[in-house]
């Protein structure tokens, strides 16, 4: 009976499909009961079936999307819990914060292309400036919060293999024979741009502000880079997991995190004689927050980063707090060193155009595979 065979086979396919569907539906209800019912509403909204805007009623549960860069994963995981509790205690409103992480430049691009971020917490001001022109953020965003909207700072340090076998103590040691340096691509990574500028700043100082000599030094430095990853976290994985290279130029917080996660018996942190003060800024995405009616909670979210608890969490995740009292408490963790700032380069716009845009100095000094 040929026909029966076909019918049975079809039934089998159908059953398989249904089983898959059932799995999906099951886990759906499971995880929704873990969190709150609000997620369900959000999910239907996202599916594009419901076209009405999220409601404006007072104090319904609310959802925020924080679009951030690579190394803040652990920081915001902890901070989001603390903020949700604080917000519930003070306003009675439930808030769920969703996170998205990738390279800083790539994230800015995604927000421009329509990723509905209520707040952005990126690696450098230039990436937030990029959101001004498409009308997503007001031009005066940097004045909205204290300290140029940078609630925590960081700097660039060296992570070396245990015992520092190659004797790397300062920038000049990076260009010694046989030293391999790991740093991501400044075209795509925010952290990599800080790395590059810190090296540039060091070379300028050593050579009495001779730009040609600085360029020479940085060119030599990138000759020691065997692979350019696209993001800071990728570069860290290359160094710590794949075991490539002798020194990783890293965010201070990335370096501490690697040591903590993978064991203090494997790596040492080296502070160079001079580094750069990195100020990763935060901003409310005005257009999205106004459209979704989340401005109040979005502003509260970023503001709370400046509170004592927010600053503590930043410090615990190896970001330098700007609050002096809390900074003093963690002063053993964050070594004092000479720090140049982005203003020494005339601000991000100038630095970006001179060094990192197409045809800039980085393009001239770096030839892949050389």
């Amino acid at each position: 009976m040929k026909r029966l065979a076909i019918v049975r086979s079809l039934v089998l396919i159908l059953t398989f499909t249904l089983v898959l569907a059932a799995c999906g539906a099951n886990s759906n209800s499971n995880s929704n009961s873990n969190k709150n019912g609000n997620k369900e509403a959000a999910a239907t909204n996202n599916a594009g079936t419901a076209s009405e805007a999220p409601t404006d009623k007072p104090k319904p549960p609310v959802e925020l999307l924080n679009v951030s860069y690579d190394p803040t994963r652990e920081l915001y995981e902890n901070y989001n819990k603390a903020f949700a509790k604080y917000w519930k205690d003070t306003t009675g409103q439930e808030v769920t914060i969703k996170q998205s992480h990738a390279g800083s430049g790539a994230q800015a691009r995604a927000v421009i292309d329509g990723l509905k971020a209520d707040v952005v917490t990126l690696a450098l001001g230039y990436d937030i400036d990029a959101l001004v022109e498409p009308g997503l953020i007001n031009a005066d965003w940097q004045t909205k919060f204290e300290h140029n909207s940078a609630p925590y700072t960081s700097t660039i340090v060296f992570l070396v293999r245990k015992g520092n076998p190659k004797g790397i103590n300062d920038w000049s040691d990076l260009v010694k024979d046989g030293v391999e340096v790991i740093t991501p691509n400044p075209k795509t990574s925010g952290g990599a741009r800080w790395n590059y500028l810190a090296a540039w700043g060091y070379a300028l100082k050593q050579n009495n502000n001779d730009e040609a000599k600085a360029q020479e030094f940085v060119k030599e430095l990138y000759k020691h880079v065997p692979v350019l990853d696209s993001g800071a976290r990728g570069a860290t994985t290359t160094f710590v997991e794949k075991g490539i290279g002798d020194v990783l130029l890293a965010w201070e917080n990335e370096a501490y995190l690697s040591v903590k996660e993978l064991g203090p018996d494997k790596f040492d942190i080296v502070y160079p004689s001079l580094s750069i003060l990195a100020e990763p800024p935060v901003a409310v995405v005005d257009k999205v927050a106004d459209d979704r009616g989340t401005r109040e909670v979005a502003e509260g979210y970023l503001k709370y980063l400046y509170s004592d608890e927010g600053q503590e969490i930043a410090a615990q995740n190896y970001y330098r707090p700007i609050n002096e009292t809390i900074a003093a408490k963690y002063k053993d963790q964050f070594k004092d060193l000479e720090l140049i700032t982005i203003d020494d380069f005339g601000g991000w716009k100038t630095a970006q155009e001179k060094h990192f845009n197409d045809g800039g100095i980085f393009d001239k000094i770096y030839t892949p595979g050389s």
Binding site: N34, G48, D113
Partner: protein
């Protein structure tokens, strides 16, 4: 039997007379080359996924796969495959039927278009949807005005997945249906069968193996796609991360065991698909051998 046109060897076919077959040495050489190669290139890496997944014990494994974000990624992956695969099955049958049973202008163009997703990089497959439906894209302003979210949400992920999996079913069926020609359908029609009747009783039985392989391939790709989905996903945790994206996130967060645990989940989904396929083959085989005996 009609089913013999497919690549599926029946028991009878493998029992050939001695004088027309290869020597035992050649036979065993070929078998061992195939086994060693598969062992090194396929089995070993897959086993290492499981070893790595259980390295820190069963508790870590369980925690990783019951994490709400992992469950949400699993749910999303299955849901996307559930939309993309049937859609491609229907489209694949329709396209293969049109191409192999009818003559029309632009046939070659249609074949080339079906192949296109194979030819372009998955990253580009994602980018085209950003260019079309992104906020700065072609339909961006209109979508924004009507508050419809396509990219960085479920519809975008489904679209990107459908795009990269389009060729699988059609590509399996076209050569098969071309080889079979239209004689059987013509015979059925001349005996008075109607359109659907011909499809269910003649065409579908003839193509069922090709169709099944097509569906399995497209399902595997739909669940495993990384590049295209990564571009349109927006990486929102617990919402727009599929299993492959979630694996990368865990790996980058120093949770190596957890990332391999979730990877093993993806492997198990693939194995499940293959088991369903094997069951299906076995059932049908059993039945057709009965028919031969009858």
């Amino acid at each position: 039997m009609a089913g013999a046109v497919t690549a599926h060897l029946s028991q009878e076919a493998s029992k050939r007379p001695k004088h027309i077959t290869e020597s035992a040495g050649v036979k065993w050489l070929l078998i061992s080359i195939a086994l060693v190669f598969l062992g090194l290139a396929v089995v070993m890496p897959l086993v290492s996924v499981f070893i790595e997944a259980f390295k820190k014990g069963f508790d870590v494994y369980r925690a990783a796969i019951t994490d709400p974000d992992a469950l949400s990624a699993l749910r999303l992956t299955l849901f996307v495959a559930l939309i993309a695969v049937p859609l491609n099955a229907v489209f694949g049958i329709a396209a293969a039927w049109a191409i192999s049973k009818f003559r029309f202008k632009g046939k070659n163009l249609l074949i080339t278009l079906i192949d296109l997703p194979f030819a372009v990089s998955p990253v580009i497959s994602g980018m085209i949807y950003i260019l079309l439906f992104g906020a700065q894209g072609f339909f961006g302003p209109w979508l924004d005005k009507h508050d419809i979210q396509i990219v960085f949400a479920l519809p975008g992920i489904v679209l990107a997945t459908v795009f990269v999996t389009v060729p699988f079913v059609a590509r399996e069926l076209i050569p098969l249906m071309q080889a079979q020609g239209v004689q059987e359908e013509e015979a059925a029609a001349s005996l008075g069968a109607k359109g659907w009747q011909i499809f269910w009783r003649i065409t579908l039985p003839n193509i069922k193996w090709g169709l099944l392989y097509g569906i399995i391939l497209s399902n595997a790709r739909a669940m495993g796609e990384f590049g295209a989905v990564s571009v349109v996903s927006g990486h929102i945790r617990g919402e727009t991360n599929t299993l492959p994206l979630h694996i990368e996130i865990l790996y980058n967060e120093y949770q190596f065991s957890a990332s391999f645990a979730v990877a093993s989940l993806l492997v198990m989904l693939a194995v499940l698909t293959l088991i369903v396929k094997a069951l299906f083959e076995w059932k049908t085989n059993q039945r057709s051998s009965h028919e031969i005996l009858d």
